[in-house]
């Protein structure tokens, strides 16, 4: 059992949430409540990772941030290491790949709130921030939870992009899904089996936690 790889996977999942949830809440709220020119383009761009293979994302990340690109060299000179083959690079890839998983459920949840309720909140004297935290967020909570769960579980299962831009570095970019692949290549079926089972348990646990939390919130409001 590769505990380090499990740690990398969990850390990547949590870090992805920390990066993506604020962005997802902001974008989801914006797209659900406003109409503006270019909205269709933004929605398409957010959805694109859902339909494109991870290899396309991996390709562009390597081309954009690889050691041979100006941007990649600039990043390396600041951070001291290349963005691909680092945890930060994995996080960037994961954040982009998970954008639709986070934004879409949140956007749907905000859209489900009748506009009259939002107007009523404004007429009650609640500022936009108060409306967001006291009205929008509690009403959209199950959607936000679903988004977080989807992104977390999806990050744990991410393979293609990690394989391409991760470089399989222990403790840094070797996630559990990569470690399983690695163990299989080394004919270590037992090791792979233990890790696959671990991933399965974590995934089921995440889903159960989400359902429990969402159910409790819906009942209590």
């Amino acid at each position: 059992m590769d505990w380090t790889a499990l740690g990398v996977s969990l850390r990547l999942g949590v870090a992805t949430l920390i990066v993506l949830l604020p962005i997802g809440l902001w974008l989801g709220h914006l797209l659900a409540t406003r109409s503006f020119p270019g909205k269709a383009l933004i929605e398409a761009l957010i959805t694109v990772p859902l339909v494109l293979p991870p290899t396309v994302l991996g390709f562009y990340l390597l081309v954009t941030f690889g050691a041979r690109s100006p941007l990649g060299q600039a990043f390396a000179s600041i951070a001291g290491h290349a963005l691909p083959f680092s945890f930060a690079g994995l996080l960037l890839a994961s954040a982009i790949a998970n954008l639709p998983f986070v934004v879409q459920p949140i956007q749907r949840a905000f859209e489900a709130i009748p506009s009259g309720v939002r107007d009523a909140a404004a007429c009650c004297g609640l500022s936009p921030w108060q409306r967001f935290f006291q009205i929008d967020l509690p009403l959209a909570w199950p959607g936000v939870l679903t988004a977080a769960m989807l992104a977390f579980a999806h990050t744990l299962g991410e393979f293609g992009v990690v394989l391409m831009v991760g470089g399989n570095l222990p403790g840094e970019t070797r996630t559990l899904s990569i470690a399983i692949y690695d163990r299989m290549q080394a004919f270590d079926d037992r090791g792979a089996g233990v890790m696959a089972a671990t991933l399965l348990v974590v995934a089921v646990g995440t889903l159960m936690l989400t359902t429990t939390l969402a159910g409790r919130t819906t009942r209590r409001g």
């Binding site: 380090t4 969990l10 050691a67 083959f85 909570w141 570095l169 080394a186």
Partner: protein, 263 residues
Amino acid sequence: MVQSFQVQVLRWCAVVALVALASVSPAGVQKPPVVAAAASMNAALTAIAAQFEQARGRHVDLVFGASGALTRQIRDGAPFEVFLAADDTFPQQLTGAGLTRDAGVVYAIGRLALFAPTGSPLTVDAGLAGLASLVRDGRVTRFAIANPEVAPYGQAAEAVLRRHGLWDAMRPRIVLGDSVAQAAQFATTGNAVGGLVAWSVAVAPAMAGRGTSVVIPASDHPPIRHRMVLLKRAGAAAAEFYAYLQTPAARAILKSSGFEVPE
């Protein structure tokens, strides 16, 4: 009610914090050097690294893959410090790109093996007569080799099949592994009759009991010259491991792991 929502947020934050705490990697502050090596080196290098750690008290992290794929990653900035390829040309590309300390050294000569998993109709022989008769009878379901474009053992396998006049007939039946390790995996699982893989993989302890294999004469394919290079970013520990690889102790392990060792 508003308070109840805040309680929910707090509870959720607590869950996140717990998971974050639990996921903090136990890895040390000082990161050990990462050694990238061709997939055929898996068993041998794992043994050498263990012995190195015992003898010198230093740990190295090992990453295995197809030589071509690893070369690409190094050019894109992967933080490897030593690169053990399964051929000459990939390390030379890196040297040409100015990414290595020097031209490196050939540390092993690889051999190819014909492998048949347990229960396969294929009988293995160095002259590939068994394979040829299966091809004639149309009984080859799948046959695994490494991808010639990224794996030196794939290039060698293609050369062997061409030399025996089997390449064109078998082309539709061939499955390509990303590396020689994946090719071996394809050969042992699934419905392949067998495959041409690295001798070092065929004799690896993990493969024991999975099938039969025979080494292919070196004269049937261009030599598989394993070259290693010390990359520019390499630190003292990496350099020490690089030197250790050329010691008699390491060479003995290579010899017993399915490689020939140059003088």
